[in-house]
Amino acid sequence: MAIKSLDELKKIRDNSLKKVNLRESGENGEEIIEMMVGMATCGIAAGARETLNAILDEIEAKGIKNIRVVQVGCMGYCHSEPTVQVNMPGHEPILYGNVSAKVAKDIIEKHILNGELLDENILIKTFNKA
């Protein structure tokens, strides 16, 4: 399915936009929660793989259905890897740092299921982007 024009590219973009809008504005047309795990070399070295597995296990254990886990690259916060961002529809995206497997479980239990943010692990994004 080759893209043969800018219009065709824009069609793909429009279809994908709904999914990614949540990450910047906290809005999307659907009621899907998203968890983004930083899986670059730095994240993995700091244990992001265990974090990711813990998240997947916990989602399964709790039977959460409206959630999507996305692997992303490095956000530049090497001092606080592994990082996990939680995007809930209607809420500002929240970024967590130093997310061990245990913290990951807490995020699901407290933040995702109870709407309660976790002390100590929240990071603030300190950049604008093009």
């Binding site: 990614v20 730095c42 992303v72 490095c74 530049g76 090497c78 500002e92 603030i124």
Partner: protein
Amino acid sequence: MARYRSHIMVCGGTGCVSAESEAIIENLKAELKSHGYDNEIKVVKTGCFGFCGQGPIVKVHPENVFYVKVKPEDAKEIIEEHIIKGRRVERLLYEEPMLKEKLDESSKMNFYKKQYRIALRNCGLINPEDVNEYIAFRGYEALGQVLTEMTPEEVLKVMKDSGLRGRGGGGFPTGLKWEFTAKQPGNEKYIMCNADEGDPGAFMDRSILEGDPHTILEAMAIGGYATGANHGIIYIRAEYPLAIKRLDIAIEQARELGLLGDDIFGTGFKFDIELKYGAGAFVCGEETALIHSVEGARGEPTKKPPFPSVEGYRGKPTSVNNVETFANVPPIILKGSEWFSSIGTEKSKGTKVFALAGKVNNVGLVEVPMGTTLREIIYDIGGGIMDGKDFKAVQTGGPSGGVITVADLDTPIDYESLKAIGSMMGSGGMIVMDEDDCMVNIAKFYLEFTQDESCGKCTPCRIGTKRMYEILARITEGEGKPEDIDNLKQLGEMIKNTALCGLGQTAPNPVLSTLHYFRNEYEAHIKDKRCLTGSCKALSKYSIDPDKCIGCTACARVCPVDCISGKVKEVHVIDAEKCIACGACYDACKFDAVIKP
């Protein structure tokens, strides 16, 4: 689902904890409770906001209002005014120094423009293994525009007007490099991506490739169109397996969508990309050595000219560009050259990614407009020096660069200004050093690296860097001679002037620059046999302060070489000759009597 309607975020970063953020949190909680709001609004302690000069900082969600320099006693007003009555507490808002205007939302604040991400725009935001997510953030739109609406000349003009300069170290204007390649006769040309990233301490290229691989493919295709190349090669070190995997997936996906291949966007433009693996030699990042390595020859540099844009891969015109350079290309096409050239300084446009490492609190990747000062990077974004110690210097440009000292903390950084103070931009490694770092030792570290990485083709570099390293090693071992300083200088200048390639030409820089700024440390090592910071083990001698020593014998009991003498309740003495500087006595003494060198 959410129980709390709002959150109050208080920074609990290292800088801010010292500035009473704990007390602020307590007070906010108490105020909420006394007004009965504690079930609706939660106080959250967060990591560093990276704005420590203005700390402590309190941010209220969901409105995103940002209060600075908050004191514990301000909690009452924040709760009563903002939370209960919904009115901003004007006096705590941040006042933009330039605008003289109180700003409430962080996104409007200049400070947040301190970090402006162009090259890193998608890192951490998209799934790098899903081309659709890249497309959602305008991916491949620049390529589509270029192919369907612009001539190659127009692309070259945009690139030249943007002022983008190579991020691989040299800072050569990218548009010009592409134009040289485009102007060469013949129709077999190449475009190469330099992903060798050999500077120890730099990892921005890896992060881009791992976090946003499609942007490199797209930019290379744009470069191919502009220069007339149909073939792209990415030279990447084999030590980057994850980046390689993500590039492989990205190339596959791009081919499936026809974004690489024979008839891109239905325009008949043909472009494809292959990966070549490097074995991780520093010199192979030098463009002529890189080309030889891709050709299967020894990774050794050759004389320039001819430049690769005239005679490169297989003797054909080749443009070699760095990863971060490429990552800037699609946004420049989409937003225009004027947008890009409005960022940065007069001669250095756009942003630069730095890998901030060493003794700084927030180690990580930062992307700042050219012209940002070191102070802003280290203190505002980096959160200051670890453990509240004093800043001593920062090494930029890796093994090719030099140190920047306190005197230049407020120098706006760009290609020219860094050169003027004896360092260079390099690829963007930034190693922060504090009062405990010995400058002779640092210089030795870099020379150990370069003399090892020298390809050996030319004498000044092969033998000269080795001699320099030997002298430095001797000095740190307490065997320095008075003439060493002059010899280092003379050798350094000679190597700079006569080495064949950039590796040798820049290798003496760390020595010459530390000699220039910290000559006293070299002299202390050589004349007094003393290392002022105590990092050079051979030179560090522990001693005991007779005024503080009460003769408890704790030190003598732990000394592994039994070189501390003294009777109970009498002052103890260390035999400096025998001391192996293990530091055990220093840790053992409860009366601060042992003096660390």
